[in-house]
């Protein structure tokens, strides 16, 4: 972490402002970004190395997962397959070839789908982004609101109720919730649509972003849009429940902490309207830890949607990663590793920048 937070409010606020002037040319934000991008590149190389080594350490042969039993008995077919996928070369050479490909924007060809990994990811990543994005959006709105309400009504009935709800959200297993939600909302109550991203009778919207809701809206296909939104809601709510629980608890404790601080008391003493106190004096500083949690939660949503995707037949990156891992599809596993790692890095970066935006006391050093 290259973030430095001043120890307490009331410290010399000019310190942060003085810093940029001394260094001159580039702003601290720009320097910070450059440094982070460089670190990210190093991390990306690390990710590829770790994924490569781990996948090759697994005792098993990708040939076995990709060829039929009869073909496995034919050395000519096995040799041909190995050559086709570059597995006849020594491991270090395979790794260097992969790195060269990555630099040239080529993640290799998936052994299971016979397509470029980039094409596979271009299909599956937007599907998961749409799902995880919707889930995190719901989580932030609901979780923060629940947390604030619980803090403001501390030890009252609504506080207890919200805390029990958040505990439920955190402790209930997602796969169970997904199955139950699908069964109750789709099968029993018939208020939610079936599995998949849109109704099978509809044709997906023209590919622009890969997010069906957005692409359908851009193309003006409102029937597809409404179907895409309908299909998105249940899995997104299921995924959101855990994060809602988490955010409720974090927001509650953060708000409680800020409520007791002097500047809030001073605001009240000055007779400021409650709304101003809540949004400007309480929520703003309280949001810093909440943003950290939300950022991490989004990252784990992206890589942790396997079960929900399986139950809702959602063709996302979770399902792709699972299938790739079980078939030892090295290029695909490495592609997924890079993408998920990259997303984590970007989210961390955004979160760090947001600290500064929300709380000017936070300096970028």
């Amino acid at each position: 972490m290259s973030i430095k937070r001043p120890p307490a409010p009331g410290d010399d606020p000019k310190a942060a402002r003085r810093e940029p002037g001394r260094r001159g040319a580039r702003s601290p934000l720009a320097r910070f970004l450059v440094r982070r991008v460089l670190t990210a590149l190093l991390l990306a190389v690390g990710i590829t190395l770790v994924t490569f080594v781990l996948t090759n350490l697994v005792p098993g042969d990708p040939v076995a997962a990709n060829l039929g039993q009869r073909a496995l008995g034919d050395p000519a077919i096995v040799a041909q397959w190995r050559t086709e996928h570059g597995l006849d070369k020594p491991l270090p050479e395979q790794y260097l070839l992969h790195l060269r490909g990555v630099v040239q924007g080529d993640l290799g060809t998936s052994q299971q789908s016979h397509r470029p990994v980039l094409d596979d990811l271009a299909d599956s990543v937007p599907a998961t982004l749409e799902l995880a994005g919707a889930a995190i959006l719901i989580s932030i709105v609901v979780g923060v609101a629940f947390g604030v309400v619980a803090a403001l009504r501390r030890d009252r009935f609504s506080d207890h109720l919200l805390r029990v709800l958040s505990l439920f959200g955190i402790s209930v297993p997602t796969f169970w919730l997904a199955l139950t939600a699908f069964y109750v909302l789709f099968y029993r109550l018939r208020i939610a649509p079936g599995s998949g991203r849109i109704d099978p009778g509809l044709t997906p919207p023209p590919h622009v972003t890969g997010l069906y809701t957005l692409d359908a809206a851009l193309a003006g296909q409102w029937d597809v849009f409404s179907s895409a939104v309908g299909h998105l809601v249940t899995p997104a709510l299921v995924l959101a429940l855990y994060t809602i629980g988490l955010l409720t608890r974090f927001t509650r404790s953060a708000v409680l902490e800020v409520l007791g601080q002097d500047h809030v008391r001073a605001g009240r003493a000055k007779g400021l309207p409650p709304r101003v106190i809540l949004f400007r004096y309480v929520l703003r500083p309280a949001l810093v830890p909440v943003i950290t949690v939300a950022g991490l939660a989004f990252g784990s949503l992206l890589s942790g949607t396997v079960l929900v995707e399986a139950i809702f037949a959602w063709p996302g990156v979770g399902q792709y990663a699972y299938k790739s891992a079980t078939t030892l599809d090295l290029p695909a596993v490495m592609g997924v590793g890079l993408v998920v790692g990259g997303v984590y890095l970007v989210i961390n970066l955004i979160v760090d920048v947001l600290y500064g935006v929300i709380d000017p006391r936070v300096r970028l050093s």
């Binding site: 041909q80 649509p193 998949g196 099978p200 249940t234 009240r268 709304r275 399902q319």
Partner: protein, 537 residues
């Protein structure tokens, strides 16, 4: 802490909560109402879209590389082969693109007469050149199905006659030709898109986006992880026109398949286990048949791998010690006991009464004869593999309990399939639990279980280990007459059961659920379901 205040902004904070709740509900009910017409339109009688849910095992739509169950469903719909099978009967190949065929007496030459009226989806005629190109392409690309035509020379005698010549008698060829991997491509279109019929062939990418066949359906879109959309071939030359305008094959887990079909969101569910179909109610149709997959145990004959299992009497003790009825109970509806390694629907299969039964005393006696006292063996199996919805884990546990009663201690060694396959392929497993599905529905495929052959070697059964059985295998491979072949394979299996290292266990059930509006469903062990054979009531 100072919360004594008037709870500033509490009402304001409630606003987003209410808003989100309202939005969620609106979207939820919106989704429901939006799905209703589409799923109605996506399915029931009178509509022209058919939705098939299946757990995908799919890599490609290029017939020359296709070998996975879902790929064969797609291939069967988009391409046609020289010969085919009617419905579920795989004991009798019938003409398709060929109007007749004849196998020479020595079994080495198959002569086929090509139909003159067949056309590809673009309207161009299916020619002998297309046939020669397509079959040579499968053989020479060295893709997964290339072994089907190993050593087979394909030649055009005249514009409507094709000969397939093998060095040895190959009575299985008419049973191999219906495999959708041997679908005939429009060679002109394929060549335009990179088909070279050698290992550098580049047509797969094109064939994954559009089809180049003469089948009743064409491929509209193809995604190996989510769905395949087929569109009726408007210029289909055959008599039976496709009943649906559009067929959507979706990748859906078994549990979700059950809910989807029960609710009318799909019309065909292919992967429900015996337990899952037991709970199916309403007006859905359930087709329960035994699959062609035979699950078996192998006891390694190589003394360097195991001093215990290499004793033939040990295999006999296992054969008599397994509770087959208990395994069938685990496998659920539709499953049957496998009397031999050849599944029940193939020529040469043993009758059900020839199946082994449990005989604990007999098993103990065999074990005593072997001189082994309370032996301990390792049972290796692919733990996450399921065959027709049946997992190997409970099967292995049940076998462990059965053999305990006989006095054999079984240590379970589960492993992911890619890991477990390594030991299995290299013949290093002491005791193994695996399955074999037919590469083509002909008993000659099962000669692999003999000493020195593919599966035999996996059980450490080297060539020369049982000369009499090996000679019987060579004789069976050379037979061409149907009765003689049937007798030869029956005899081989009887001998295998008496003295071989394999213990055939069960054929799990293949349960297919269809909506009441769907007609004509027939399970076929090669391509599971012929989409073009499905109609609307």
């Amino acid at each position: 802490m100072a919360t004594r205040s008037r709870r500033p902004g509490a009402k304001a904070a409630l606003l987003p909560v209410l808003l989100t709740g309202a939005l969620a509900l609106a979207a939820c009910s919106g989704g429901g109402s939006s799905s209703a017409p589409a799923s109605g339109g996506g399915g029931g009688a009178g509509s022209k879209t058919l939705v098939i849910d299946t757990s995908f095992d799919l890599k490609t739509a290029d017939p020359g590389r296709t070998y996975e169950p879902t790929g064969l469903i797609v291939g069967k719909a988009a391409y046609e082969t020289l010969l085919t099978f009617e419905g579920s009967d795989v004991t009798k190949p019938v003409p398709a693109l060929a109007e007749s065929f004849e196998l020479s007496k020595d079994g080495k030459t198959l002569t086929l007469k090509l139909r003159k009226d067949a056309t590809f989806a673009d309207g161009s005629p299916v020619t002998a050149d297309d046939v020669v190109f397509s079959l040579n392409r499968v053989r020479d690309m060295k893709g997964t199905p290339s072994f089907l035509l190993d050593g087979v020379e394909v030649a055009k005698t005249d514009d409507t006659t094709i000969t397939l010549t093998s060095a040895k008698a190959n009575a299985a060829l008419p049973y191999i030709l219906p495999n959708p991997a041997l679908g005939i491509l429009n060679s002109k279109v394929a060549k335009e898109h990179g088909a070279t019929a050698d290992p550098n062939d580049k047509a797969e990418q094109y064939l994954n986006s559009a089809s180049a066949g003469s089948g009743p359906y064409t491929i509209e879109s193809f995604n190996v992880s989510s769905q395949v959309v087929l569109r009726a071939n408007a210029k289909y030359w055959g008599q039976a026109k496709p009943a649906y305008d559009k067929v959507v094959i979706r990748n859906v887990e078994a549990a979700t398949q059950k809910l989807n079909i029960s609710r009318g969101d799909s019309q065909v569910a292919l992967n429900l286990s015996g337990d899952q179909v037991a709970g199916i109610t309403g007006d859905l149709q359930v087709t329960r048949t035994a699959s062609a997959n035979v699950i078996f145990l192998l006891a390694n004959r190589d003394p360097s791998v195991s001093k215990v299992t290499s004793d033939p009497k040990f295999a006999e003790a296992v054969r008599k010690g397994v509770d087959y009825a208990g395994l069938l109970e685990l496998a659920g509806e539709g499953s049957v006991q496998a009397p031999g390694v050849i599944p029940s629907m193939l020529l040469g299969a043993l009758p059900p009464e020839a199946a082994a039964g449990r005989d604990v005393e007999g098993a103990k006696a065999a074990l005593k004869e072997s001189g082994l006292v309370n032996p301990t063996v390792k049972l290796e199996y692919p733990s996450e593999l399921t065959v027709n919805g049946l997992s190997f884990q409970p099967l292995a546990e049940r076998i462990q309990a059965n053999l305990k009663e006989v006095g054999i201690t079984v240590d379970l060694v589960p492993a992911p399939v890619t890991t477990a396959l390594d030991n299995y392929r290299n013949g290093k497993e002491e005791l193994g639990l695996w399955y074999w599905g037919p590469d083509y529905p002909d008993p000659s495929d099962y000669l692999s279980f003999l000493p020195g052959k593919l599966v035999g070697l996996r059980a450490g059964w080297k060539a020369g280990a049982d000369k009499e059985l090996e000679a019987a295998g060579d004789k069976a491979a050379a037979e061409t007459g149907e009765d003689a072949r049937k007798q030869a394979y029956t005899d081989i299996q009887t001998k295998l059961n008496a003295s071989g290292p394999f213990i055939p266990l069960i054929q799990p059930g293949q349960n297919i659920v269809t909506a009441s509006s769907v007609t004509g469903l027939k399970f076929n062990p090669v391509w599971t379901v012929d989409v073009a054979g499905l109609g609307v009531k």
